[in-house]
Symmetry: C2
Subunit: 111 residues, 2 copies
């Protein structure tokens, strides 16, 4: 199994935190989500991502980026623009996006 | 049902993003997590939080704070310090914490 943790450099870098509630049914979401994850991974400045969705349909995806320019470029990527539109028409009841500059980071791992 | 979304003011504010994998078994985690959530909600500068854990044990909790001082004060709160220690001894296989300054935010809600 691959780790669910992003392997990140030392700060500073940026995080785009995407909190969402899905609509009922798949409606092509799963396929597009996989596609967008792969495509995001190819973008300049992408550092990694972490994602989880609970049994109640609420999910958080934190994606990590080198700078604001790379976040902006990904938001305007043609395929991603289509996905964003379909997100609003079909896939999400609600979402909230917060763009933040990571200033400190630390962690713990059991031996 | 209460909303899983935090009700936040306009940026700037701060986010503490806590990604984690739990150990097997509860070991008192559920009770302490409820307690810490309630206690965090009483702290000066606490703005709200969003949390989700998936079926594989990986979870993300984003808690939102007015400024770095309030984050620091909560990290040093006596009861929270005990919870953090027990987290490392009993509850978590691994966790990663990123502290970030939220600069922009936007959202979507279906009518």
């Amino acid at each position: 199994m691959t780790s669910p943790f992003a392997n990140l450099p030392a700060p500073p870098y940026y995080v785009v935190s995407f909190s969402s509630i899905r609509t009922a049914g798949d409606n092509g979401y799963g396929e597009m989500a996989d596609l967008m994850e792969a495509l995001a991974g190819e973008q300049p400045g992408y550092l990694g991502g972490e994602t989880v969705r609970g049994p109640d349909g609420f999910g958080i995806t934190n994606s990590y980026w080198r700078d604001e320019d790379s976040i902006r470029a990904w938001k305007q990527h043609a395929d991603h623009v289509i996905a964003q539109k379909t997100g609003r028409s079909d896939w999400y009841e609600r979402y909230e996006v917060r763009i933040a500059r990571v200033e400190r980071a630390y962690g713990f791992e059991r031996r």
